[in-house]
Symmetry: C2
């Protein structure tokens, strides 16, 4: 197990109707906030009105900024920063899913920073402070509600970049009401689950040794997603299974289960290029990229893939030909995604080989020239993975 | 899943040599502290000297109070409170295991309180603030290093009582160096592991419905203890297995895995009477009480015990006679403890039936007149459990 530091002070309030607590929790921090939301589903469902009532009742005033899209855009972040500065808002409340929360974090980091907030995403600067962020979560997927991470797309050049700053970007509170997720479409639920699975698998496939305990925690969480997702898809009104999915989404990405081990994150890096280029939903892109990544790298440590197949997917342990056990695990993952209605091939989302080289080049444009840790992948390797995903 | 609120801001610093960071972390909070320790092993091992060097290097001064015993005593807590007030110390640093940390928390809660700190343990008052506490952990067991709990024994009447106050008693930081646990005796290691297992099982046996995810997290953690404890006992120098045990101990009792479900805690309540009466090590008492408790209550929900036996202990799932699966699980737990050199019968620790009635009466002296949640146990039931443990 590697050395680590873990601290996560996000207050999680989980249960039916918890969004009514948003006013009192916000008022502990600020009385003049930016209220940030997405494409209108929170407005249509009446959630936004309930949030506003709660804020008003606690004497909190707000300026609204809606319109966050999936793959949230830098231009809206800049608009949010401008609003906060002009109106002297010192708190950002995100009502929505991971995109809204990521956008809120970018605004929060950008307000007290003299330079361009995009510097943080390019790794040119590190946030030394940020406005506090609170969340009312509507989509279990990104885990942004208690993570220190944010991913933003710069429309100028189709660049999608991530920032992690656990010291300043973890939300101060997140309200998780699983009832709010009941109206989430079957498709969006599955896309979110693929994101959750990916956060677990990125951490699972590691070269770190002696990680028995965190292996098991990650396996347990994957098993719970595998157990509960079909229940939700078969019965979208199943609030109990919805609640389980929501909680797995938070713990899959608050980083606790990744402590003491080095994650991989190549699939995320590759997918970021895909969704920057084609504006795919992140989870759908991951459902395509991850199995292909596995097929490309599994020989690096067949025993880890065989353990995963056996423990997570219940594949019989074939110790004479562990490669077969490993491959069956990858096959089960693909089948699981397919049965959930997710794409597992680029052809299903109308992506051909036109930009394989461009995307591979952009993914490896950093100083390292590679992505991933389990196996370091260069441009050529990424192109090979795109081909496996065709 | 039940509604819940979870917040845990304890900063965990894990790895070799992390105790050298104690000075800088403490200095962020205070420069005049109470340095609290146990029966001298930290002194003999040189740990205390290293801690002092680190404190000095960061300009932190201290008053020392050693002598904390297992089942930490109220009298020493009172002495600590007096010292902090007299010397105007505003931070308590615990160097040791759960007893030292629990004692430090009691002091921290008592200093700003005008009444008797024992009020908190009797439930007559609730801490509204406390001095910050930091920890250098030496024994993986109690999980006190990131919990909001403290258990103290009042010598006057042999009363052992617990206090939980997550808002004010979670340590601000805890330094976990698994190297420090290598010198822990095989016996004390096993006793600690029984404590860890108990924290997981108290949460596992619940009447809360739809707790698939937390079931799996608790099972994963138990499996890791079961996997790693024999490795440590066979090779006490195995730092990697020591590290895994240490981290399981923290996560078993920081309450994250108990969210959304009601725990039982009858075994802890019963054991508290046992160790208050006989001054047994807490983990040893639990190794005796827990299997007896299981034999008494398992019929309340055989399916939960069968699931536990199958998933945690690998017992074959016998769906025609699930009771046999359940019973085999309890048998495996007993065998696991026995193989670790732990007592599983009262006779092994020279406890006869003399005080069964007294202890059962004391355990049920609260307003509820029962202990436990999975099955509510009255005096008679507790006596029956003591008999099963003979």
């Amino acid at each position: 197990m590697d050395s680590f530091i873990f601290q996560n002070a996000t207050k999680i309030v989980f249960g039916k109707g918890v969004e009514t607590q948003v006013g009192s929790l916000t008022a502990e921090k600020s009385h003049k906030i930016l209220l940030h939301w997405g494409r209108g589903s929170a407005k249509r469902s009446g959630l936004l009105d309930r949030v506003k009532s709660s804020l008003s009742a606690s004497g909190v005033t707000w300026i609204e900024l809606g319109g966050v899209q999936p793959n949230p855009r830098l231009s809206l972040v800049q608009e949010g920063i401008r609003l906060c500065r002009e109106q002297q808002l010192d708190f950002v409340l995100a009502v929505g899913g991971g995109s809204v929360i990521d956008s809120a974090k970018a605004i929060a980091a950008g307000v007290p920073y003299a330079g361009n907030v995009w510097d943080f995403y390019l790794g040119k600067a590190v946030p030394s402070r940020a406005l506090p962020v609170g969340c009312v979560l509507t989509i279990p997927a990104a885990g942004s509600e208690s993570s220190g991470s944010s991913v933003i797309t710069n429309e100028d050049g189709l660049l999608k970049k991530g920032l992690t700053c656990n010291d300043h970007l973890r939300p101060v509170f997140s309200l998780l009401n699983p009832e709010l997720t009941v109206t989430l479409s079957v498709k969006d639920t599955a896309i979110g689950a693929a994101d959750i699975m990916s956060h677990l698998m990125e951490r699972y496939f590691t070269n770190s040794m002696h990680v028995d305990f965190s292996d098991r925690l990650l396996e347990a969480t994957m098993q719970s997603v595998i157990h509960n997702l079909p229940r939700v898809l078969n019965d979208p009104q199943n609030e109990e299974a919805r609640a389980e999915l929501m909680w797995t989404g938070t713990l899959a990405h608050n980083d606790l289960f990744g402590m003491g081990r080095v994650g991989d994150w190549a699939s995320h890096d590759i997918e970021h290029e895909l969704s920057a280029q084609y504006d795919l939903p992140h989870g759908a892109g991951l459902a395509i990229v991850f199995p292909a990544w596995m097929k490309y790298v599994y020989r690096h440590e067949i025993s880890r893939f065989a353990q995963w197949a056996h423990r997570v997917w219940g594949v019989e342990a074939d110790f004479r030909t562990p490669e077969l056990t490993a491959l069956e695990g990858i096959h089960r993952l693909e089948k699981f995604y397919q049965q959930a209605g997710l794409p597992t091939r680029l052809s299903e989302v109308a992506v051909n080989d036109k930009y394989f080289d461009v995307m591979a080049a952009k993914a490896t444009s950093s100083d390292q020239k590679t992505v991933g840790q389990f196996v370091k992948l260069d441009q050529k390797a990424i192109q090979a993975i795109f081909k496996l995903a065709q």
